[in-house]
């Protein structure tokens, strides 16, 4: 069955749609939990289904290095290896090659680098990366892109756009942009680069549009630039992309980032924030971030988020969660991750419902008011409110 994106309705630039894959439908806007190494950290597939995640991420760079593409292919590809029968998206790992690996040589042909795990030497080309992603078997696979650092010179940004466009074309030339080698379709998405320069974003988008992908990603954002600037670039770039194709903002972001980006026309998100913060004892709630170890919660028997109906909030108190983190119990990260993934997935479901009912901007205002104001009746609320304001 071909992968198909249906744009159901819009509310100004905000969109509600659905991405159909052979591993289930993905209603959008959607948050994709990050399972870099073929596992969402501290969450079983049971938890992911409990929070109604419809698609998760994995990373081809990490999996190439460990356990290796051959192993996963032999296991019956990624869905079977990690016991996830819903949709999967693999990032190519372009970002990771530049940020994690010991880079030896980048050229028009590809990139030579040393593994961040064991120092072994490898060479990636757009062709080898696409081949690896096809063999991993994700429903959506990403082009191999060049993500420049921030800040970078205009020349660097131009080079990144040029290389990303060239590599996108070479990647698409391997098997096409809709790949039918595993008994189901895999869709290849292009990635728009261009740093914070509108003209370069436009140039990058036009190059990709000429190739013609079934979906487009916005890469190289939330890498250090100001929030307002990021949102401007998101809005500008989204406006360049075809309405009937999904738009994926890579590696972003906070709950406020997601809501603001939905308002600017983005459909798909991934970010390590909910899972990474949860493991460190900070969760997202409808009234802002909550630091579980806060002494104020030692005898607070209310749930993490009184507005939340997740497993953790239905069954456990802040006092118990705090105890788990103070005592170093693995159950702390497990329960906190369950909550924060539920929060992110529900946030996107709520946003979708609001777009469908034509009330997205009312809903967005109410959400932001609550999220940034803190709860007046909860210890530490004023601190959290302040923290959230700084976060913007």
């Amino acid at each position: 069955m071909p992968i198909r994106f249906t744009l159901e309705t819009t509310d100004a630039q905000a969109r509600a749609g659905s991405l159909s894959t052979d591993h289930g439908d993905v209603p959008t806007p959607v948050f994709m939990p990050v399972g870099t190494q073929a596992a969402v950290k501290a969450a079983t597939p049971g938890v992911l289904k409990d929070v109604d995640a419809t698609i998760v991420l994995a990373n081809a760079y990490h999996l190439f290095l460990r356990p290796g593409i051959d192993t996963i292919e032999e296991a019956g590809r990624l869905h079977r290896f990690m016991n996830w029968d819903r949709a999967i998206l693999t990032d190519s790992g372009g970002y990771q090659v530049f940020s994690l690996a010991d880079l030896k040589k980048a050229s028009g042909d590809g990139i030579e680098f040393r593994s961040h795990i064991d120092g072994s030497l490898h060479f990636f080309t757009p062709e080898t990366v696409i081949d690896a992603e096809v063999r991993l078997g994700a429903d959506i696979i990403m082009s191999f892109d060049y993500c420049p650092p921030y800040p970078c010179t205009r020349t660097q940004a131009e080079e990144a756009v040029a290389l990303t466009g060239k590599w996108a074309a070479r990647g698409a030339a391997v098997y096409g942009t809709r790949i039918e080698r595993n008994g189901y379709e895999q869709a290849l998405f292009g990635i728009v680069q261009g740093s914070v320069h509108e003209d370069l974003r436009r140039r990058s988008a036009l190059e990709l549009l000429e190739i013609g992908f079934p979906g487009y990603a916005l890469g190289g954002l939330s890498v250090g630039e100001e929030k307002a600037q990021m949102l401007d670039i998101v809005e500008f770039t989204a406006s360049l992309l075809p309405g009937d194709k999904p738009r994926y903002l890579m590696g972003v972001g906070t709950p406020l980032d997601l809501v603001e980006s939905v308002a600017r026309g983005v459909d798909m998100f991934d970010c390590v924030l909910p899972t990474r913060n949860a493991r460190n004892g900070t969760v997202f709630t409808s009234s802002g971030k909550l630091v579980i170890r806060n002494a104020a919660y030692a005898r607070d028997f209310s749930p993490l988020d009184p507005q939340c109906r997740c497993y953790t909030c239905r069954q456990y108190s802040r006092a118990y969660l705090r105890h788990l983190f103070m005592a170093g119990e693995i159950l702390g990260p497990v329960l906190a991750t369950h909550h924060s993934l539920h929060f992110y997935c529900r946030l996107m479901r709520d946003a979708r419902g609001a777009v469908l009912s034509g009330s997205f901007f009312d809903w967005k205002k109410r959400f932001i008011d609550c999220y940034t104001s803190g709860e007046p009746d909860v210890p530490g609320a004023s601190n959290r409110a302040r923290e959230n304001k700084e976060e913007r």
Copy 2:
């Protein structure tokens, strides 16, 4: 409802029974997963129910220090605090005071010690410990005992027996041995000490029998003595205890220890082995221990234990589990713990079934033959077989 033990049948000294509590029935022989700090490490209550655990342990010493008895009582006691509606047993923490804390002064009255967490100074008496356990609210609470080190002099062992007997009587004098202060009955169990000396074990047992407890534990075993000697003491001590009361062997042990101890008349067990080993990447299987990181499993797509029907074995391969451990993913300990708890709980269910059908000793021989022989068709089996033999 009073806590009631029913001895259903015996097969030589092996017993099948049932312990009824207001938080459900506990069929015996039973393995009790260890939740020292009010959490079974890396296992949610959902996992514990999935492996059909009917009772879990917690530790009063640990909970007294963190988060404090007041906090748990205010939370609605232990069952509610940790979201576990089945039976709970609390160890008094006698063993932990002597093994973990910085001991300042032991006397007939009690023990002064410094917390292993923050060095704070505390004084435990048999009365304060029982009061703490009653407030924690477990269904079964343990007397405050004195567990001598091993090896120890005969004089030390005699002193431990004397102190344990005196403290058991003082503990029982506080609220009696069947306590009705929380709206359900809590049963106080006595603990037999006496190191490896039969006459001291007899003296200790007789002192406790005179007080009259609804259950008896065998303490101070598996602390360094030879396995054969441990099993002799288990058999001897069990023979001194009344047939109509449950017998609990504290802190023991390997799958073989459990099976051999059931053969000698023990009904209840707890041990950190399955959970601790699982977190470190070693699981128990029907053909012995399996070290998940073993390179032989890198492309082994069979389950951890082909004879196991647990969630982990139904859904995941050895190759995936190995990948999780090599990659440092929390999901590795979570899935390995799920398996090993299932293995221990099923082992005791199988033992019970065998006693009920009068075939315990046949079953025991088959189990041990398989457990110690390793699987001939599995990589690393010969190593595991050797390792298991050494373990005895």
